[in-house]
Symmetry: C2
């Protein structure tokens, strides 16, 4: 137990990372929270009304705290269909391969309205709200905190951590380069803010006064003990929860994580338009130099492809989001995973207690 | 104390990383070893005769164990002067700026003969020998071990760790993407083997049976405690020792490390021909898309430039090797640094001992 655990009302310093795209089902979130950690929804691509239903679904399953996360990045403005041509043509062969109608030019809005999402969060009043890929306005943060919501944001460099602290967040997630999916970089070029978890956790802990959560490459209790040693007050794990029974990830995605024996992840912008880390597959290799649309347009355009590939069990054309420690992924229920993580953390702490330096 | 500490004959689980290019003076190495850690020489660019003198210099200062490291990569074969033209032209303005004679085409041999270096090591019999950027032949490893030398190699992915274990090394250095200077990747594309220290340490610890040393982004006792939590048996710190009084790094290099407030490092091939991490400066930015010669030819060609820039205190044209946690760099003597690291590690372990999960 750390001061942040008390603040968030959780029993163990484990946060199941909010992952967008249907991975974080109410069943997963509720199971993690019931087990004493903090289950969290990744609702970046979810419309406000559906966000409300999500909160109700988890509240009917548990009275424990849970978290909700959205993206607060600047989205691309309207793009003329003619300017989408090259990117759409690059995708066509994959749509053909899955027997799908070729993609048409996307029309705005390309993603849910972030202001409406923030309003939905004010109505939902989740126990914990975190934002990603940017910053929520300071007055929104203040308003949510006044309603009893604990608010956190993601930092991938010292500058972002200091900025988030100045906005009045309750805690900061120091997200290292190991992390799977979309990292939260917003003040720097994401390819120049690739600081590893060990380094960024320590840098952020030393740079700010608010509690820090570490994220990126943490897959077991040894990893949790390590970030506690760095001064983090909780660990946020995403990839570790993807293969859980209750996770909404596709069977092909889960199987790819379980099969990994080395860090075979790389970063691609070709699924969503923003850099995100996943296990390299045929799509990522072949598309490496192809044109793509900006976020969230590319995401919207590739959605049918990813959905069809998932349904067909075709891991070649699917976003296989994963962090760099993916070889440590395991199959279990969320409750079993949280229990194992706690037991391993205790073992690691006990082992460290024996060391004399 | 860990089993590896006993094996290496050191009192604290701290290895001062072997850094080539004159940083690891006999004074630095001896001071670290006298303080209970393992001082190490980076002799990648050192001729066999000079290697011998280095060992004598440290043995006259301490009876404690020390380490020696060389590169065992495949070096570039002879390159026609005409094929060097573009790379030399790209460098010319910087030579001009420092009033140096423009670089001429390099002639082989571009670097010391690695076989002769390995023979020098057999003669020197350093207590510890580590190799980097490849693997020493299994019979050399066996021969050195039979002479009582403890042998280790660097791995940046699971495949390299398993390969090194199969060659019979005593220990493996799991080197994360945070690390400054040249990382040891040799079986994969270095740009695709960018696994962070937290992830790679845990992956290697779980993949091999030999003891693991963690390296990359470790700058204080919290970082040391963190890698011990991951199962490493010692921490190897490079950047932390660069600003030490006894270090042979230039004043401009030391000052740049001390001034850093965020991770402003990136990877460049433009100094040596192989990717290496340093604080971004004018040379790195401007040269980003310029042609360069392969390792070690580019290193040999840029040597006068780097030497003159160092002498002139010009940090714009100097290789400012640094790991990603460089904002934690501090000025002190090596003995003070080792003492502070030990004290901080003890504090971190004691703090962890209080946690209940």
């Amino acid at each position: 137990m750390t001061p942040l655990c008390k603040q968030l009302g959780i029993e163990v310093p484990i946060i199941q990372a909010p992952m967008a795209g249907g991975i974080t089902t109410p069943e997963l979130v509720a199971a993690v929270s019931e087990a004493g950690g903090l289950g969290s929804f990744g609702l970046a691509y979810t419309q406000p009304e559906a966000m409300q239903r999500t909160a109700e679904a988890v509240r009917s399953r548990t009275r424990k705290p849970f978290g909700v996360n959205i993206f607060v990045c600047e989205n691309a403005g309207a793009i003329e269909p003619s300017e989408q041509r090259g990117a759409l043509d690059a995708l066509a062969p994959y749509f053909d391969a899955l027997g799908l109608k070729r993609p048409e030019a996307a029309k705005p809005p390309y993603a849910p309205d972030q202001n409406a999402q923030l309003e939905a969060i004010e109505t939902m009043r989740p126990p914990v709200f975190t934002f990603h890929l940017g910053h929520a306005p300071a007055d929104r943060i203040r308003g949510l905190r006044e309603k009893g919501v604990k608010v956190g944001g993601s930092a991938t460099c010292v500058a972002e951590a200091r900025h988030l602290e100045s906005l009045g967040v309750d805690f900061i997630i120091a997200q290292g380069a190991e992390a799977g999916g979309h990292r939260g970089t917003y003040l720097r070029d994401p390819y120049e803010a690739m600081t590893g978890t060990l380094a960024i956790t320590r840098l952020v802990v030393r740079a700010v006064k608010v509690p820090v959560v570490a994220a990126g490459g943490i897959m077991d209790g040894a990893g949790i003990a390590a970030v506690l040693a760095l001064g983090a007050q909780a660990a946020q794990l995403g990839t570790a929860f993807v293969p859980c029974t209750e996770s909404g990830a596709s069977a092909a995605h889960k199987a790819a994580l379980i099969a990994a024996e080395d860090d075979t992840t790389l970063i691609t912008e070709k699924f969503s338009g923003k850099p995100a880390r996943g296990i390299v597959n045929r799509y990522m290799r072949e598309m490496a130099d192809a044109p793509h649309l900006p976020f969230p347009v590319q995401n919207s355009v590739t959605q049918p492809l990813r959905a069809a590939a998932a349904k067909a069990g075709n891991a070649d054309l699917l976003s296989l989001w994963a962090g760099q420690a993916v070889p440590l992924a395991r199959s279990s229920s969320a409750a079993e995973l949280v229990a194992a993580l706690c037991e391993e953390t205790r073992e690691a702490l006990a082992r460290l207690g024996q060391l004399r330096v």
